[in-house]
Amino acid sequence: MLIKRRSPIKSSDITPESVYVNRRRFLQGLAGTTALALTEGASAIPAYSLDRDQPQYPGPDWLQRALRESTRNEAFSTDEKPAPYGNIITHNNFYEFGLGKQDPSLKAQDFKTDPWTVEIAGEVDKPGVYNLEDLLRPHALEERIYRLRCVEAWSMVIPWMGFSLGDLLKRFEPTSRARYVEFTTLKDPEQMPGQRSFFSTLDWPYVEGLRMDEAMHPLTLLAVGLYGNALPPQNGAPFRLVVPWKYGFKSIKSVVKIRLVEEMPGTTWNRTASGEYGFYANVNPAVDHPRWSQATERRLPSSLFSPNIIDTLPFNGYADEVAGLYSGMDLKQWF
């Protein structure tokens, strides 16, 4: 099944037909050209062979050029083997579309992710509501292969396409009072069946937050793509956060609002069960969830009869880069 997304074409988007070639063929042709200036630590991303029977998500026309011209940030990428595309797009915790891991892939296919607007608000000199297209225009996309560690003790390796959140925030000129960043997911019960559930203990919309220095850290990614394609709706299209050293629930999906604030924002899981889900939620094998251990994780995909159980690393293996952000803090208290 090929799921195509159509979007109204603006005159600015009209591009020579030759550019609208299959991404894979384009990249193969790239080998002999100098179309991309390769910066240090970056390289052309390889053409992926996604399983033929998987739906693919080309995304809106206006995103194609940025996806095509993206490079891999080798310095920020793990060399572990990424999970198969089919696994990444069918194993999602996106409670707005149901509680089962496969629910989002089944129920989010009609989710309208283009056009999309994002509000930048709070302690910035240039607040406003922006089309995602305009918001993204100045940013070159890069591919980063990150580990994602879910608080439920499974993990996956995922090749995201995106750029550092800090680069975006700087453009809107945070004021000196900006100490935290609050992110909000779309609230649209019409489209999101999970938000209509009477039995959910979560308050909608979903809200997450970062401290300013966490938000400005170059590892903190705003993702718009996956495996060389656009982000599928079940993975948080069109625009999501990826914070690789924190549990997955911090990496909020389908963001419509970014607000810079002075006080630590209340976050969804923390409000629901503050003893179980902290604001920081840094991956930490030494601090267990009250109901289960965080010392190990199951790396997916995993064989049934010899499960791929690996030790969980502090800060999900990104300690060299980010541990300094928390020096002097008691991580048992600020879990």
Binding site: A83, I88, L99, S302, P307
Partner: protein, 207 residues
């Protein structure tokens, strides 16, 4: 009534016995088929453990429904299948535990001990399974005769087991309590019926 229709017809008890014997195997057959055709998603281990756990709970609830259904609808024929349903509950519970130990823990002893000491719902679930074993062992007609009145007392443990199973289930709630509420209300009905029967005056004729 479909079921009284069955009773009314000349369907042999043997055929009914085979039906009750084979029906509870259907979920397991379905699970094998799904696992074999790689239809269980990116985390089949979790899917299998969840599925077998849910069916353990369902079979236990079905077993507990035998007595109320028999009394309310006068379905005397149902009684003879209670043992089989109870044994299927034990069977699914064992499969559930084996699936957890094999597919999730890979039989790593250190993890097994850690899970038993750190995950409260696993302690409660294991206790429920442990208590099921003596009920399974004493389920034969011979044991029933041998134990006499003590058999009835012993098998009242099933109420404790059901409550432990419910706690095991509730303790895993992350954000939605829909399923837990559904099964909890049914269990409340099943146990409530027994309390109600005990408290009301004895009927003149025993059923």
């Amino acid at each position: 009534m479909v079921l009284s229709g069955i009773r009314g017809s000349n369907l042999k008890p043997l055929a009914l016995w085979w039906l009750v014997f084979l029906l509870p195997l259907l979920p397991l057959a379905w699970l094998f088929d799904q696992a074999w055709s790689l239809n269980l998603g990116a985390d089949p281990a979790q899917a299998i453990v969840k599925f077998t756990g849910l069916w353990t709970l369902r079979l236990l609830w079905i077993t507990l429904a035998v007595t109320p259904l028999r009394r309310i609808f006068h379905w005397g024929w149902l009684q003879r299948y209670r043992r089989m349903l109870g044994l299927y509950t034990l069977f699914y519970a064992v499969v559930h535990l084996l699936a957890f130990a094999t597919f999730i823990l890979g039989w790593r002893l250190d993890l097994l001990l850690r899970e038993l000491s750190e995950r409260p719902y696993i302690v409660v679930g294991s206790l429920a399974l442990l208590l099921l074993i003596p009920l399974g062992v004493t389920s034969t007609r011979a044991m029933q005769r041998r134990l006499g009145a003590r058999w009835v007392k012993l098998h009242r443990l099933v109420y404790v087991i059901a409550l432990l199973a419910m706690v095991h289930f509730i303790w895993q709630i992350r954000s939605s309590f829909e399923d837990q509420l559904f099964y909890g209300v049914i269990l409340a009905g099943l146990l409530g019926y027994r309390l109600w029967v005990r408290r009301r005056p004895k009927p003149r004729q025993s059923r």
